[in-house]
């Protein structure tokens, strides 16, 4: 079976059945795409029951996530890029250098192999760029209609010199966001065509480690979070609750693209509750804030980064929004993400 032959095909139940066809599926579609297959003595190419890792010094950090997104291909990315970035970003905002990842595919029978190849290319591109090894994987096929297309589960392993948690924010720390918020959520909303809207907006989905590594090295970062589901509002409320501080946010400083601003007004959806997939929210010691901001804005992924607020002792556990017109209110924890199936 040549790749060409496979690519004209569709996924069948045999691809996940552990037999001959699954072996070829792995040989042709998976293994050649990932040059880096081990992070220790036993890796993906051994096709053993598990991988054996040798980790460099530091504290190991592990994260896991299942990725469901509708549509599977969206402006600015696809489920493969999303799964890979989501995984390495969770490690990055823990302060960990991503080293290895697992990839489990659950695919609906009849799914186009050509589309699957595109998705795998997207995963390969992200892990390749970061030097992350794909050390283990799994493929399962579900019957037609038992699943909507494809679901990807990943586990990421990294090592942190000093883990950065959500609970490290102290009164006085400055809040930085690394770029405009809400792009991913609104790009998906438009792509779903439920509102018959058009926009040039693309998802911000991107791996954050190259942006965060130099900032972490400079020192002074006390807390970090990627504002995915529930967006900026959920991330800030999480930080405030876990760190037991109040956070004041200055609305006029929050970076927003014009498209996002317009869509938010039109649809009555708060841009602060819409997901990002390539942004981080940082707590930084006040004396380090300007330098960290400068390091971040130097990187292309940090374009539009801004200081948007500050932690304080008052209103512990809550986020206060100083609005553009000079009013003040709580920025509440969102009820849930305005959109289901986004990450």
């Amino acid at each position: 079976m040549s790749p060409k032959e496979l690519s004209q095909d569709r996924v069948t139940s045999l691809h996940g059945a552990g037999g001959e066809l699954m072996g070829k599926f792995l040989d042709v579609l998976i293994l050649p795409r990932f040059p880096l297959k081990k992070a220790g003595p036993v890796g993906l190419d051994a096709l053993d029951d598990g991988a054996v890792l040798s980790l460099p010094p530091g504290q190991p950090v592990i994260t896991t996530d299942s990725h469901v997104v509708k549509p599977i291909f969206f402006p600015g990315g696809d489920i493969g890029r999303l799964a890979a970035c989501g995984t390495v970003n969770d490690l990055a905002v823990m302060g960990a250098r991503p080293l290895a990842m697992t990839l489990a595919l659950i695919i609906e029978e009849g799914f186009s192999i050509q589309q699957l190849e595109k998705i795998l290319d997207s995963v390969a591109q992200v892990v390749g760029e970061l030097g992350v090894a794909l050390v283990a994987g799994d493929t399962k096929v579900m019957g037609k209609g038992e699943l909507d297309g494809i679901v990807i589960n990943t586990t990421g392993i990294g090592v942190a010199a000093r883990p950065v948690t959500d609970a490290g924010l102290a009164p006085g720390d400055v809040i930085i966001v690394t770029g405009p918020v809400g792009d991913h959520g609104f790009a998906l909303l438009v792509a779903r065509e439920e509102f018959e809207l058009e926009s040039g907006l693309e998802s911000d989905v991107a791996p954050l480690w190259p942006l965060l590594e130099p900032a972490l090295a400079a020192g002074g970062i006390t807390a970090m979070k990627d504002p995915t589901r529930g967006g900026l509002a959920a991330a800030l409320n999480d930080l405030a609750r876990k760190s037991r501080v109040g956070i004041e946010i200055w609305e006029e400083k929050i970076p927003l693209r014009d498209e996002v601003r317009g869509l938010a007004e039109l649809l009555g959806i708060s841009p602060y509750e819409m997901a990002c997939e390539g942004r981080a929210v940082l707590g930084v010691r006040p004396d380090r804030a300007e330098e960290i901001l400068e390091i971040i804005t130097r990187h292309p992924l940090g374009e539009g980064a801004a200081i948007i607020g500050q932690a304080g002792e008052a209103h512990a556990g809550r986020v206060i929004l100083a609005t553009k017109v000079g009013g003040r209110r709580y920025l509440e924890m969102p009820l849930g993400d305005p959109l289901p199936r986004i990450c």
């Binding site: 017109v325 000079g326 209110r329 709580y330």
Partner: protein, 363 residues
């Protein structure tokens, strides 16, 4: 002239207006009432209450159309749906509790309940389902009623009819003035409704009760400007109907829409949830359109049901006698995901808006 909505959020202008409001506001506790969910969203989302002097309060009255729809009306819609009629209505209406079931619960039991964005979409449903009876459950104020009138004037199919539960704003304002413990010093009148009825529609109210009524738009500066005009009237001892939203509202309103309403409906008494019966505050369908009047077609008669669940303070909140945080259920037993009363269900309800946008914290 093209204007960006963001010009109406200029912080300098906001500061000047806030200063003017502080200067003109009476020194004693003063309550201004608005009757529009969109006003509540603007006020809460932009934290405008924190710009007002402490003695000046701005409360939402009966401004959320789905919240004030009576259980009697809602129960009829639920009854029709359970009897096999296709019931179409606006999305917010689905989860509002009836005395036994909400429309959403009726749907879960197998009833055909559909959300539509306009009355015309409900007519489409009727055309696509010629073998079924399709009822549009028509809720909303003067803003949405002309749309209902327009479809009734367009010879809809025989299997289409309207369950009319529209309500009128000026009689509700008048009713609030007569309620004990409400004590309204001035009204911020709704911009959308006023585009239809005009500023002149408030003149009789102003004359009879000597209460300032100012029509306001929906950007933060619109609201602050309207509030400033209200307190200026108070400080000068005036009571007038003023227009702070002239870019959308004409003194006489939209005559064409008024004519549509006049042709199809006549004012009739209506029951408001949390308030009770208000004379001439509803719109009944004229006899010549009775073929499409669901209450005639299905011989419906409403029976008053339980309006407000025990412990819930929606009845006080809907008449601006209380704010959401006065209710012991708010944010605890009652949240948008498991609402107890109508004010937490409707996205324009005061409780829902306060829950989403952080209410009126002491900041």
């Amino acid at each position: 002239m093209a204007t960006s909505p963001f010009e109406f959020r200029d912080p300098e202008r906001a500061k000047q207006l806030a200063q003017a409001i502080r200067r003109w506001a009476p020194p004693h506790p003063t309550k201004i009432v608005h009757v529009c969910g969109t006003h509540e969203i603007t006020i809460t989302r932009h934290g405008l209450r924190s710009l007002l002097p402490p003695q000046l309060s701005v409360l939402e009255g009966p401004g959320c159309p789905v919240c004030v729809t009576s259980t009697a009306e809602l129960d009829l819609a639920v009854q029709l749906a359970l009897e096999g009629v296709v019931v179409c209505t606006f999305g917010d209406m689905l989860r509002v509790p009836g005395s036994r079931l909400s429309l959403a619960e009726a749907r879960a039991q197998g009833a055909d309940v559909r959300t539509v964005l306009s009355p015309a979409a409900a007519v489409e449903v009727a055309r696509e389902n010629p073998g079924k009876e399709v009822v549009f459950f028509a809720v909303g104020f003067e803003t949405t009623a002309p749309g209902t009138a327009a479809v009734l004037l367009s010879s809809p199919p025989d299997n289409f009819s309207v369950l009319a539960a529209h309500k009128l704003i000026p009689p509700a304002l008048e009713a609030l003035l007569g309620l004990p413990g409400v004590e309204v010093a001035g009204f911020l009148a709704p911009g959308h409704v006023s585009t239809i009825i005009g500023v002149e529609a408030y003149a009789p109210l102003v004359e009879r009760f000597s209460v300032p009524v100012v029509v306001g738009g929906f950007e933060p500066l619109d609201v602050l400007y309207a509030l400033a005009l209200i307190v200026r009237q108070l400080s000068q001892g005036r009571a007038e109907a003023e227009n702070a939203y002239p870019r959308a509202v004409l003194p006489q309103g939209n005559r064409k829409a008024q004519q549509l309403l006049e042709k199809v409906f006549y004012p009739a008494g209506a029951h408001w949830r949390g308030i009770g019966p208000i004379p001439n505050s509803g719109l009944a369908i004229r006899e010549e359109f009775s073929a499409w009047d669901a209450s005639v077609k299905f011989d419906l008669e409403g029976a008053p049901g339980e309006e407000i669940p025990p412990g819930c303070r929606c009845a006080d909140i809907l008449v601006a006698r209380a704010v959401p945080t006065d209710c012991s259920l708010f944010g605890k037993a009652c949240t948008p995901t498991s609402p107890v009363g109508p004010c937490m269900v409707g996205s324009e309800g005061a409780c829902h808006v306060w829950y989403r946008y952080g209410g009126k914290p002491e900041l």
